[in-house]
Amino acid sequence: MLQDDTLANVLYIDLSKKHFWIEKRQDLFDKFIGGVGVATQLLHEECPKGADPLGPENPIIFAVGPLTGLFPLASKTVAMFKSPHTGNLGESHCGGRSAIAIRMAGYGAIVIKGASNTPLYLAIHNNRIYFRDASSLWGIGSCITVGRIIRENEPAAGLRTIMRIGTAGEKLVSYACVTTETYRHFGRLGLGAVFGSKKLKAIVISGKRSLPISDTKLYQKVYDEIYQAATGSPVMKKYHGLGTAENILPLNEFGGLPTRNLEKAKFEGALDISGETFAEQYLGRRLACSHCPVGCIHIAALREPYGDELYFYKTSMFSYDFEPIYALGSMLGVSEPKGFLKLMEQIEVLGLDVMSTGVVLAWATEAQQKGIISKKETMGIKLSWGDHTAYMDTVSLIIKQPNEFFEALSCGVEHAASLYGGQDYALAFGGNEMPGYHTGPGAHIGVLIGARHSHLDNAGYSIDQKAKIKENLGSAEELAESLLAEERWRQILASLVICFFARGIYQPDVVLKALHLTGFDVTPEALLGIGEEIHKEKYRFKTREGFSLDKLRLPKRILETPSPLGKLDEKFIHRAIEYVKKSLSK
């Protein structure tokens, strides 16, 4: 690291004592780069064994990397915490303006400890930190309104991030998200509930500074190469064009789009909720994260009449992507685009993780159809595939939690099924609800063994798709090894906080060139070694908190519904997991 780089500054904030301090942690950044590497170490340091995820002892850690602010697409913030959803490793990544704001405020990481007695929000403007009363913001129905109020109260427009929770986080729904810049999220594993447990409604962060660089001329050259690749490559053009929603139709054609709680993997309504349909009929604007020229964020505009008066309309705008369309569309049998958009809006306003919510609703629908639960539990709601209004009513009650059933739903599908049954079709892996891929064994094994049980850990779905083309999946051991190799490399990308969409651009040679300019010189082998070590460190935390690959639950549904690579073989899956276990214990 270069001598005067503020990346080494870690800002510690104690919400209990309303106190903050800054420590130079060059030791951590020199060894673990930044992002997930550094955040994992801070989690080990700050989170005591057996901590209550909703207790003051659970820390929230944000970290960015050395390339943030220097190169395009190093634009993610990594959040780490103990997850209230799984009771284990919590990790979630978010873009928007968050990473640039943290770096420009002069920090490489922020650690938030303790809990406040009364609602507050934090304002971090460079080296000034304010604890602002948020009593008047607590309970506001829409987290979009909260963003607007803070926007108007705080300085530094264009140079700031505004992270906030909705009522889902306040009510400690275990899969509540944290939203930034209205449209990006720390979506998975319940960071919103951890905010809520600390009475932390929001954090605004801003700053403006220069960053040191070792060789200005070389910097401009490397920058230009990366920028050209980011704006010129067909892959990046795809993300800007239809966005991730482009995958709906090909994945459906492939037979890997989970439909109606994965009773099927092909949705007859896919065209109606495809990226093409949304782009042609609803796309209102495209946005980008700070310092990313791609602009993959797609915002739909929905114009609706109020109905009580002629010519009285409202136009709402909110983002859509592949995963929300899967979770609230095909997974729930919703093929009516307006129905999907209304449900999406509600979830955005309340601040829920859309993927977990969709899977929870899908399980509840099937559970009611199979008679495990009745209208008594649902307080009169009849859930049926495609009925978005019934789903909206259910989501409202997940927030209010008026009875034991809705309390159970607010803790996720793993918990709900443990109380009511229906585990065979409760689609959670490692306690986290499934992503939108039933492409083959790679997708499911990947999520099972992934340190945060996310499709982004190791992209198993991509291995499946390639295997289908080659018509050869290989052995369980080979598959497991590919997943591990990908996950280890992704620890490097996530330590540099490079958006995974740019993984094709930031190949190891480019990463090393860029890192060199930040005074971080390392051999390719050593770089891979760091990735492997970070991965092990994450597993060390998981094991410490009681995770075991032996205890993983495999929902039977994934074995019943054929994937594009045929019916999944349980023994094959177990062999792969066994391989991972051996590999991690080396």
Partner: protein, 130 residues
């Protein structure tokens, strides 16, 4: 030549222009940037691009008490930092907010209309024109 904001509706808010401006001056980060991009009150409403529009009769130069800012041929101003006392009148005089400020040295930062930022605008928001 002068920089022109062609159409803010095409702006996705990536702020690549802001980083480009700093890089053009041999720096990384955004402390030195003379162009600003912010949302027009929520990103759903699009963006505002704040950059010197090269006025023919620039108010910033009119209020400069030391002659550090002088009108430039073709619009805008030339800045002689050796004459600047950092009084800040120029910043107050620009109704668009295009006089950015370097807090470290307490001096204005003003666009020289080099067009480097436009080279890094992928969506045709910025253009260097005659």
């Amino acid at each position: 030549m002068k920089l022109s904001v062609v159409d803010t509706e095409r702006c996705v808010g990536c702020q690549s222009c802001m980083f480009a401006c700093s890089r053009r001056q041999g720096e990384a980060g955004i402390a030195r940037t003379c162009i600003g991009v912010r949302s027009a009150g929520g990103m759903e409403r699009g963006f505002v691009v704040i950059v010197c529009r090269a006025c023919n009769d620039p108010p910033c130069a009119k209020v400069c008490p030391t002659g550090a800012l002088k009108p430039r041929r073709g619009g805008g101003v030339r800045f002689d930092i050796t004459k600047c006392t950092g009084c800040g009148h120029c910043r107050d005089a620009c109704p668009i907010g295009c006089v950015f400020w370097d807090d470290e040295i307490n001096k204005p930062m003003i666009c020289i209309h080099c067009g480097y930022c436009a080279q890094f605008c992928p969506y045709g928001v910025l253009k260097l024109e005659r």
